[in-house]
């Protein structure tokens, strides 16, 4: 199951909203202090949809990621599913 965790604090709530609007995600109910945003193969989120300032945007996956970053710049975040080990294919 691929996705990312979002801490339940005001500055990250717009990420959940943007993911919900993208139509490619399933937002799970809050569990503990986090919400899990699930995606199937890939998901793309635009910063303009989150209204996040850059300093927050660049830390928006700090809740934890079950997936891989395919693209991450100041405008756009693209995540894809992965089976690769955390430390890379030559790791572990």
């Amino acid at each position: 199951m691929s996705g990312f965790y979002v801490l339940n604090v005001p500055e990250f709530s717009s990420l959940v909203d943007a993911a919900r609007k993208s139509g490619h995600c399933k937002v799970h109910p809050k569990r503990g202090h986090y919400q899990f945003v699930e995606f199937e193969n890939e998901v793309e989120i635009l910063r303009r949809d989150t209204q996040m300032k850059e300093a927050i945007w660049y830390g928006c996956l700090t809740g934890g990621l079950d997936g891989k970053i395919a693209h991450f710049d100041s405008d756009r975040l693209k995540l894809v599913a992965t089976n690769e080990p955390i430390l890379g294919l030559d790791g572990n």
Binding site: Y5, H33, K53, T62
Partner: protein
């Protein structure tokens, strides 16, 4: 082994931070006249009793930075700044900084400052003093609470595990490694709810 809380020292905020200066007049002008921090105390002493050559005579002076805290400087009479105490260039050296709290949006007051940067729980402006020491003025945007502390613990545990493996190179590895700690915190929260 983590000691029980009552065995740790009980701290009550910052009394003062201190650093050396070789620019007495500029430092006083900047902190007292431009930032408006009152000069509240100054020690002038003979080398703290040590032989000349082992410790210079000095001034140690303090500016009031609010909430019973001060920012302090040492001025070592007749000395030159050792090269190793020059503030290094680059962002890494800026990590060593003082951040003061204000209660309204930080303003420049005529000082050359950075843009206002909004972080998760604070917003800040950044600037340097005449010694090139980095300073920050920041406003809290919200109080931190239990979610922040739980999340901080998960981040740091995940990071220490990666640090120990010796092959940690990017933040994506941390975000991925953190998942198991986040899931553990969720399971714990669920147990607490059921208990």
């Amino acid at each position: 082994m983590i000691k029980p809380l009552e065995l740790h020292p009980k701290l009550h905020g910052v009394d003062h931070t201190a650093r050396p200066t070789w620019k007495l007049r500029e430092t006083v002008h900047f902190y007292r006249d431009i930032l408006g921090l009152p000069l509240v105390h100054c020690i002038s002493a003979k080398g703290w009793g040590r032989e000349k050559g082992k410790h210079a005579d000095f001034l140690h002076f303090f500016f009031d930075s609010g909430n019973e805290s001060t920012i302090a400087f040492f001025y070592y009479v007749g000395t030159e700044q050792p090269p190793e105490l020059a503030v290094p260039k680059g962002y890494m050296a800026m990590a060593n900084h003082t951040a003061w709290r204000v209660t309204s949006e930080p303003e420049s007051h005529g000082v050359n400052v950075s843009q206002l940067v909004q972080h998760e729980v604070i917003e800040s402006i950044y600037f340097r003093d005449p010694n090139w020491y980095p300073l920050e003025i920041t406003r809290s945007l919200r109080d931190v609470g239990e979610p922040d502390a739980v999340d901080a613990a998960a981040t740091i545990e995940a990071a220490m595990e990666l640090e120990a493996c010796g092959r940690w190179t990017d933040i994506e590895q941390l975000w991925r490694n953190k998942v198991k700690f986040v899931q553990a915190s969720q399971a714990q929260a669920q147990e607490n709810t059921l208990a």
